[in-house]
Amino acid sequence: MAAKILEKEQLSENVFKLVLDAPRIAKKRKAGQFIVLRIHEEGERVPLTIADADAEKGTLTIIFQTVGKSTTHLSEMNAGDELLDLVGPLGQPTHIEKIGTIACIGGGVGVAPVYPITEAMKKAGNHIISIIGARDKSLIIMEDEMKAVSDEFIVATDDGSYGFHGFVSQALEEKYLLQGKKIDLVVAIGPVPMMRAVCDTTKKYNVPTVVSLNSIMVDATGMCGACRVSVGGKTKFVCVDGPEFDGHQVDFRELIDRQRIYLDEEKECMDHYCTCKQQGKGGL
């Protein structure tokens, strides 16, 4: 089904937010779920986590980073434009319950998917420690939104240009785990190296850690197995078994390899897109 873009906002140099008109999905979606969209007839199916939704208004918010052709094209669309297809909500929702103290960690654009989980966990009565990070200050997104659903809040930047100087995993360890502060669950979403670093850290302290994986997908309904990942030695499909898994069981090495399958093709596709645009065949 087609979906209209209602609002567009640029959150940082290469991170964009779109609000979509999608009443059926907005009504059904739960924290942790995702959608798949297709921009045009020749387009690929792009999975993106739902950052927020308003069931009453019938709107869905997605936040994405431009990494290849499809996301670049998406970032060039505007309010009033229509996506050719939008399907969802997909994947298993986050298991929300009152556990105690939960650290919600988002790296880069990963703050967007961590936000609805943080909000739901807060609503369930948990004490929320949020740690969000990025390479530098200009890449930090959703700071106010995250603050509003957190009891404790830390910003970390790799270059120290804002807040804690270092990675989110280091902030977690230095500010909490090393000091013996009790954390019952960590939820970490972001680039794979960041999630791996958080998991390596929390393993040392035996803190259960949930990660949300963004594997390559095609149908995203359990039909193709493109998104398969090894979890505790067993093959799982991120699209229907996930996207959330026990981070201590995930084979991150394999995940990184599998995310690089189409690097050459992604570049070729981007070059093709740029050439077409230069030749005035916009919208391709």
């Binding site: 939008l86 309904t221 493109a226 093959t235 399958i261 093709e265 070729e268």
Partner: protein
């Protein structure tokens, strides 16, 4: 029937058989002796009036012949191409006892194509509305049949499809060179003209459950969600880059048109030495796709012998003509990769046939010490697929068997839930297009009775 030259067609995605000319069709139709008790009709799961349509072809009334088929089969252009006629209608043909049976499938294909090309696809008169709402979940062969039958009985039919295009396995699974997608689109379009509403990108079980659909006022629901979960062998290295399920490989190429990358955005690994594991029609489709994507060598690896291959003889023949190398009585036991996680070779075992197993076929037994490796840079695992679980896990009270297939009455498609019917691969496990259509036909009859007596 004339075909594209194997050397040429092995590198393009155009349809392989070129089809009958009108003269050829008439000549072939004249071979039918119009049996009084036509056994061929008994062999057809949807009971097409075979002698009836063939008589019209012999008279040159091709449009009339197409109408005749369509009175019992909504998808003649599809069935003429992908039905295993050699084990259904044609095997029953009296002419086949002494010579070749009448080419029923090719004639069916010819009249459907003739009608479409003539632009004379006729829309039957709309029946009086019954006021009953029917939901059809899945738009593959079973769902299309149910939708077509129910709309022609006057019901208000909505068909839900998870993907962005209707047709199910006809669009994601079967390649363009065997079933052009324009034909599927035309058949779906025909159903829309009959009044069927189509909701693509709607995953039932996610955006709405079966119970939600009843709440929305549907009187009966048909589940035709197919055999959509790929099987892997669970051997070491199976998650290496370059190793695909047949579902993924074919979906990328067929539905997403990766063979036209970068004009289309979806990429696919174009291996030089490709191994396809399996011996069914899907394995043949994958192997022939790999060849068309530019492989130097395509090896079909099957653990039993040629006799046990489940693929149609015609498909095996086409594959071999195109240069696919059959490696029978062979099974992979391990994939080996490089430091970047890409498959580089596979270790295999030779097999021999032992005693018959549960399927009645002789069981393949590994020959000890027969391990060997060979270099591959892409692998497609085509060893079957299981039931897609999305509807089952969100429908309380819907009985399933140990393979998670939905339990449904063979004659009516009735499930353990009132008003819920099911048919096709989701009930039987992966089978054929026409069997799914046959199940759809029976379920439609039962659903009609059910909603009218409510």
């Amino acid at each position: 029937m004339p075909e594209q030259d194997p050397k040429v067609r092995a590198r393009n995605f155009d349809e392989v058989p070129l089809g009958f000319t009108p003269e050829m069709a008439k000549l072939e139709a004249l071979r039918c002796i119009q049996c009084k008790n036509p056994a061929c009709v008994d062999g057809c799961p949807v009971e097409v009036d075979i002698p009836g349509f063939i008589a019209l072809v012999a008279e040159g009334d091709f449009i009339g012949a197409a109408k005749k088929i369509k009175s019992t089969n909504a998808l003649p252009a599809v069935c003429g191409r992908v039905c295993p006629q050699e084990v259904q209608c044609e095997i029953q043909c009296v002419r086949g006892k002494k010579a070749e049976p009448v080419a029923i499938g090719r004639l069916e294909r010819f009249v459907a194509d003739f009608e479409r090309a003539a632009g004379e696809v006729s829309i039957p008169e709309k029946p009086a509305p019954t006021g009953k709402k029917i939901a059809v979940v899945g738009s593959g062969p079973a769902g299309l049949t149910v939708a077509g039958d129910m709309v022609q009985l006057g019901h208000d039919v909505t068909m839900f499809e998870a993907l962005h295009a209707a047709g199910g396995v006809l669009v994601y699974g079967i390649p363009e060179f065997r079933l052009p997608k324009a034909i599927v689109a035309a058949e779906v379009d025909y159903l829309k003209k009959l009044g069927v509403k189509l909701e693509t990108s709607s995953v039932i079980g996610k955006v709405a459950t079966v119970d939600d659909l009843f709440e929305e006022g549907y009187d009966a629901i048909f589940l035709g969600t197919g055999a959509g979960a790929p099987s892997f062998m669970k051997i070491p290295g199976e998650n290496l880059n370059g190793i695909y399920s047949a579902n993924e490989y074919l979906t990328r190429s067929n539905l997403m048109k990766a063979y036209r990358f970068p004009e289309y955005d979806t990429p696919i690994v174009r291996g030089k030495n490709v191994a396809v594991i399996g011996g069914g029609n899907v394995a043949m489709d994958a192997a022939r796709t790999a060849m068309r994507l530019g492989a130097d060598n395509v090896y079909l690896v099957y653990r039993r012998s040629r006799q046990e291959m489940p693929a149609r003889i015609e498909e095996i023949h086409h594959a071999e003509e195109e240069g696919i190398q059959l490696n029978l009585l062979t099974t992979p036991i391990k994939y080996i990769g490089n430091d970047k996680g890409w498959v580089t070779s596979m270790e295999c075992l030779r097999m021999e046939l032992g005693e018959p197993d549960d399927s009645g076929r002789r069981r393949p037994v590994p020959i000890e010490g027969s391990e060997f490796t060979w270099d591959v840079d892409a692998v497609v695992v085509a060893i079957g697929s299981g039931a897609n679980p999305l509807v089952q896990e969100t429908t309380p009270g819907l009985d399933t068997n140990k393979w998670n297939n939905i339990v449904a009455d063979e004659e009516t498609g009735q499930t353990s839930r009132e008003g819920v019917f099911a048919g096709g691969d989701i009930v039987t496990g992966a089978a054929t297009v026409i069997l799914a259509m046959g199940a759809g036909r029976k379920a439609a009859r039962a659903m009609h009775e059910y909603v009218m007596s409510k």
